[in-house]
Amino acid sequence: MKGRIIARAPATGKCETCKYWRPHVVYDYIGYCEKHRRITMNDDTCPYYEPLEIREGEFYWCSTCKTRVSWEEAAEYLKKGYLLHRGAYVEPDIKEELYSVF
């Protein structure tokens, strides 16, 4: 069961604050739209836009600080103007650019 909504991202109408959008883990001006199932730019708009809701018990991706955060932190960060998302988008072939680190 979904947790209680404790905060909402400002309704800018742009992808970067939409609940369906996950920014690229490295270059956060592009990202994946779960609604359209395609990559869009952070300032694109569409009729399905819905601002992100921060819910109790969930984890979020902060693209401002490039870190996964808890719902409490996410709510705090929203107040500071950081950009929060339900997750980050990692492209499938990113491994080609990563060294083998063990």
Binding site: V26, Y27, M41, K66, E97, S100, V101
Partner: protein, 645 residues
Amino acid sequence: MTENVDLKLLIGGPQGGGIESAGQIVLKSLVLKGYQVIGTREYQSNIIGAHSYFTIRARAERPGAIHFPVDAATLLDAESIFTHFQDVKPGGFIIYDKSAVNTKLRLIAPMPKPLKQRLEEFFKSRGLEPVAGSALKVAEENGVKLIGLPMKDLVRSVAKEAGAPLSRAGKTVNTMGLTAMLYFSGVEPSWIEKAINVHFAAKKKVADMNVLASKLAVEYIDDTYGGPCCFLPEGPNLGKEVMLVTGNEIVAIGKAVGGLTMQTYYPITPASDEALFLEGHRNLDLAPWAEEALHLKRIGSVVLQTEDELSAIIAALGAAAAGARVATSTSGPGFALMNEAISLAIMAELPVVITVWMRGGPSTGLPTREGQQDLLHAMFSGHGDNPKIVLASGDHVEAYYDAAKALNWAEKYQTPVIHLLDKYLASTVTNIHREEIDPLKITIERGKLVENPGPDYKRYQITEDGISPRAPMGKTTMVITGLEHTEDGMPTEDPVVREQMMAKRRRKFETIAKEIPASEKVVLHGDPDAKVTIVSWGSTKPIILEALKLLEADGVKANFLQIRLFQPFPVKEVLDYLTRAETVIDVEQNDLLQAAFLIRGYTGFEIKHFVKKLTGRALWDKEVAWAVKRILEKGDREVVVSGGA
């Protein structure tokens, strides 16, 4: 004209953001344009997002070292701007993403806190807001030209012009950044396009997209900054066929050409890429000239990834017992796990090459950074009296021949050969000409291998040189054991046999010391009559050779004693060279000064001056020269250098 070219470039960005490809494309562009290159990568161990960078140097003569400040830098994100804004020399330029300028320092999560604190203090002391734009402003005040690229808009343009989704266009940010840097430095777009096509040869669509991105970056530079700042003439090696290889790759190639039939490994940085390269080329068809040279239709080996490092070496020893020509590859922590089996290999007289790619220790330490801290570990690995061979390679070409030679020595002397290399060599790319890695110079020696052992065959037959005939397991009945044994391998605790076997293994070690030529034990580079001798080992070789030139330009005549073989230790040769010099300076990348410790132990020669680097970053030619001069001028006992981000 080209003799004056000495181009130093840097590309920094988030790990996973195409920094590796960008570095490779820059290297390829400059090689195609006729220059010799070196490129080395620094990366974090956190996989994605944190700062990584590639430093490149190009000139007519092959560069042996990199150093800061660079002539130009492409800094693809805010963390790169904060990390490198002081690493570009006055008169140079920085390419940056315009959208990064307002990024606050405190919001850069992957940046190490101590660096963040140092930078915060820096900006505070200058009354500047700690944002990326302030860092750029400082660079500009230092005489660095700033070239901002609107990456987001350019990505949109690439997608639009190519009719491609943003997911593909978004991956061309690195190409636009490197193109801007090369083009502004005077490299014509045609060379960059060629390099892109070579780099993405197997991916036509990706190549086309990147060529388009490169063109858009050139157009932007032309429209906004009026074209390139300089002209880079064609280099003297234009049209020459070269290979661009990392240290990992050249060792793999050396092993393949040297007749390796099996490699085992467990993944570990910075060793894995060597085994992965062998795996990727395990069945390699040869070019006609290579086929003729090697008398082989194809080369290849079995590559086995085991569940841990102890399994890796034990599997290798099993294969060696069966007659395979084997190696295993690892780094410090993995090598620690192999220790027990090193003693087994010595007692059972099994040939194995252990390629040790050193990194910053102890423990997990700095897994992706440079270190020369495993020399003593290699020397004293294993338990019991355990003579073995320990050699260290200084550069790519040496590493190629050493990889093959190590296989020969292992089989000839039926003993483990520990081949010491390090992270700097592993991840440094350079151009190699075919004649430098001539397969005809490599002969495969397998020692006293007996294909058809008779009924009286004794695996551990006592011989004058300490080396017994070796038959592969399965050819005859034999016992191979880690217990002390008789000539036919049967375990025994008989005191007389024990002494005989100890003496046999000692004689083998003496044979090794006698048979390995002096030229493969130590090399004296430079003027033998110089009053200053720098002594070092491993990947510091090309860096010190560059430093010698810088010292000579400053009127200091020095030579360089490179120790190649550490076990058996070349006592006479080392002592001969060191006693000739008035001042001896030891250069190492470890805190204990491990080579100096061994020199003192084996020869009694006490080195009194030391240069060391402990940061895990590449040693620079400039800092070696600076430290040597400081020692000569002020008589310092120890100088610690620490350049690099």
